[in-house]
Symmetry: C2
Subunit: 123 residues, 2 copies
Amino acid sequence: MKALLLIAHGSRREASNDEVRIMAERLKQFCSEQYPVIESAFLELANPLIPDGIKACIDKGASSVIVLPYFLNSGRHVVEDIPEIVNETKNKYPGVTITISNHLGASDLMMDLLVATANSAKI
Amino acid sequence: MKALLLIAHGSRREASNDEVRIMAERLKQFCSEQYPVIESAFLELANPLIPDGIKACIDKGASSVIVLPYFLNSGRHVVEDIPEIVNETKNKYPGVTITISNHLGASDLMMDLLVATANSAKI
């Protein structure tokens, strides 16, 4: 069973963390056939942290987990911190496939999203 | 003539700022018929700042400017800082329509982008 784990940075402003959690909830209505388990987690400053997010997916029966960095830029967090934490956590679950996808900013669909967002502006 | 101005936060890490500039360049290849002028600017820490980005659009002949906040969450920057700067700048250009679009995270297409990004992961 496949899980999708959305990873955001985490903020001291709890409303920002809630936006990420709500995004994960919305995703459930959108692709739960493909990803029966969808969770969110944070690099720092908010809970659950990444290892706990991965554990939550596995506790719910996931045999593979896609970790999706909800980041626009490929800074240190995307290139170093998230892979480091995910790789350490992987060792605890040898029977589970845990894979990091591209970060959001690297998606081919980003151009479509930008144009659609611009077009939605009420001039 | 319509302009699209991509606004990112700005980073001390110049490579992150360059990713935003490159995104704006890529957009030119994607929707320059609809938006003949496409520029990027930053809230802080990098150049050009928002007022200079708006000026650059107008100097290139824009009669309307869509300001697109390249932000995932609707924090203070999106809700207060960017509107405040844009509104102040508007007063200088009474003949130009300057409009702020949704921030990126609020787009209806975000679900598609998330699923496509997850699906691109090599398991």
